[in-house]
């Protein structure tokens, strides 16, 4: 049986987009003949000559270039070597790409691929999850796929969308997460998915934390609890309806994210649920984020900096008693 990884799905989506749409090109550091720091563009430069281009170490100019090309009708995909380096191109993303359509009625269809999230030994500058930063700015779509299938279909959708998309890939999932085949059907990227049905509590999460949450839910199943797990898939737009429907079933909510704790996805989800679904809640909604320090380098520190199946399980046990 062959299988395909999360990373291969991302590569496959780009290959297909290059194949089917002559407006698509890829630009980023080492994405050309080298195939990218994570090999997400492996062989693409050879298969699509001239359309997969190495960039200088110039994140601001990379995004600016993509904006100009997008205005002219192209569909650029920009690979940031790590999400953390996108802060050097942030101005062009949030002030130029994000505002273009509102200001001028000209769409800005570009995708910024961000290898996000922590890995062991990654340290403060190769581990960050920046979805909350980009989601705060009007005009950006922020996708956070947590499965191989979503990585594939959502990246294809991101390329097709007429708006700038921040595509948050999780480095931890790149090689580990596998599926048997590429999907043929796709749930639209702006819909959340109930990955595991349950009735005792809802965990809303996304990206790598989906798998920690599923593991926690499996653990609680041993104690007889049925935990529903909702995968947000995109954090902007955010599918409040699916979350509310789940909370209506379970009455309890835990929101889990690997990002820094102040603000962000967990706060946004809770604020929406309490504003619109206050009466559905049987207990105070809870959240779990990474700790409020830079992401530490040492595996022992890193392992307690972010939520894990075990801290999620503990949080669920607490929530079930509230």
């Amino acid at each position: 049986m062959t299988s395909i990884t999360y990373l291969e799905a991302i590569r496959a989506a780009q290959a297909r987009a290059l194949e089917e749409d002559s407006r698509v090109f890829i630009y980023g550091q080492d994405v050309g003949s080298f195939g990218g720091a994570f090999k997400a563009t492996k062989n693409l430069a050879k298969e699509f000559p001239g359309r997969v281009m190495d960039s200088p170490i110039s994140e601001d100019a990379m995004i600016g270039m993509a904006i100009g090309a997008a205005i002219e009708g192209m569909r650029p995909i920009i690979e940031m070597q790590f999400a953390d380096f996108s802060t050097c191109g942030l101005n062009q993303i949030v002030n130029h790409a994000a505002t273009l359509f509102y200001r001028t009625e000209v769409p800005c269809p570009l995708v910024v691929r961000l290898p996000c999230g922590g890995t062991s030994g990654g340290g403060p500058f190769h581990s960050q999850s920046l979805e909350a930063i980009y989601a705060h700015f009007p005009g950006l779509v922020v996708m956070t796929p947590g499965t191989v299938e979503d990585a594939y279909t959502m990246l294809l959708e991101a390329i097709n969308i007429d708006d700038p998309v921040i595509f948050c890939e999780h480095k931890f999932l790149y090689y580990h997460l596998k599926a048997e085949a590429l999907p043929t059907m796709a749930l639209p990227s702006n819909k959340a998915r109930v990955t595991r049905p349950g009735r005792d509590a809802t965990v809303v999460t996304y990206s790598a934390m989906l798998h920690e949450s599923l593991a926690a839910a499996a653990e609680l199943a041993h104690d007889g609890y049925e935990i529903e797990v909702v995968d947000l898939r995109s954090v902007k737009p955010l599918d409040t309806d699916t979350i509310l429907a789940s909370v209506a079933r379970t009455g309890r909510l835990l929101v889990v994210s690997e990002a820094f704790p102040w603000g962000g996805v967990t706060a946004e989800v809770i604020a929406r649920v309490t504003a619109e679904g206050f009466g559905l809640l049987d207990a105070p909604p809870q959240r779990l984020n990474a700790r409020d320090t830079p992401v530490p380098y040492h595996p022992a520190l890193w392992g307690t900096h972010r939520p894990t199946a075990s801290t999620i399980a503990s949080a669920l046990h607490r929530l079930l008693k509230l």
């Binding site: 090109f25 359309r51 960039s55 200088p56 110039s58 994140e59 601001d60 100019a61 990379m62 995004i63 600016g64 270039m65 993509a66 904006i67 100009g68 090309a69 997008a70 205005i71 002219e72 009708g73 192209m74 650029p76 101005n91 062009q92 002030n95 130029h96 994000a98 505002t99 273009l100 359509f101 509102y102 200001r103 001028t104 009625e105 000209v106 769409p107 800005c108 269809p109 009007p138 005009g139 779509v141 969308i161 007429d162 708006d163 639209p188 702006n190 737009p237 955010l238 599918d239 409040t240 309806d241």
Partner: protein, 340 residues
Amino acid sequence: MNCKSITTGSTHELDGTLFCQAYRYMLTARLLEEKLAALKRSGKIVGGVFLGRGQEALSVALGIHLRKGDVYAPLIRDQAGRLAFGEGMLDALRTYLGSALGSMRGRDGNIHRGRPREGYFAMISHLGAMVSAVSGALIARRFRGETGIVGATCIGDGGTSTGSFHEGLNLAAIEKLPLVVVVANNQYAYSTPNSRQFACDNLVDRAIGYGITGHRVIGNDLANCLEVLQKAVAAARAGAGPQLVVADLLRLIGHADHDDASYITEAQKQSPLGRDCMIVAQQFLLEKNWMSQAELDSWQKEIEVEIEATTTRVLREPAPDPQEESWIPFATSHLHSESL
């Protein structure tokens, strides 16, 4: 050998028709901006008014050498270039006055305007950002196999200190794009003098470090501006890669409406830098006998009439209606749902 030599304009035959045409855009820009200043003083314009007084010759010389199909990203002092590139004064007045019918529909204002679909980019405020954006447009054209086109943008002495400017120019150099970047060194960035902005002799010294061609130009001398910009634009168009054009001049007005520019020294104002490009150009065309004073006077009348008429028209146009406003930042329709 990538590092191209630095050229400065040498005198050869000037095209009188082009000169007069350029002068007319300059005059239009000058008069239109005077109107804008008046509209600001009378409270009709809200927010900043940024004028290009003293920089019209340089600005027009770029705009007039561009063609339909080229890409142009003007900056804050480029009213003359915008007109020469084909922007009617309607867009300028509508954007400043916030007309719902303007290209920015009241969503953005003053010099933050353009029609990107027509190759006329709408600047963002963050200086330096347009260099890479124009480069991206040129890469798109290259993908489509279009040749013989040029992309151009302008920046001030202050803007050259941004990382964005550096990254954009370097990218364009690597890609050998047909890009013209005009640096208007008006000696100040807001109040900050060159001495606090850079330490090289002349900003054109940056060209060699990017491996591109540098040009110097006398920024308030239309004849010189037309000649150098013609050369630079033609070189870019012919495939010689990015061209950096550095002009010396003064802005003859404050940074924006509220600034009296008292920081500009008397010595600078009295120096050749302080010459008003309108007067220099007018004397030149009168001397050359390309036009008479009477013809110039009638141009002025015509332009004034057009400005008045357009202003009156725009002042009657509707403001954007917040109740009708969609408040949608996305182009993709299925992302619009309120619940998302």
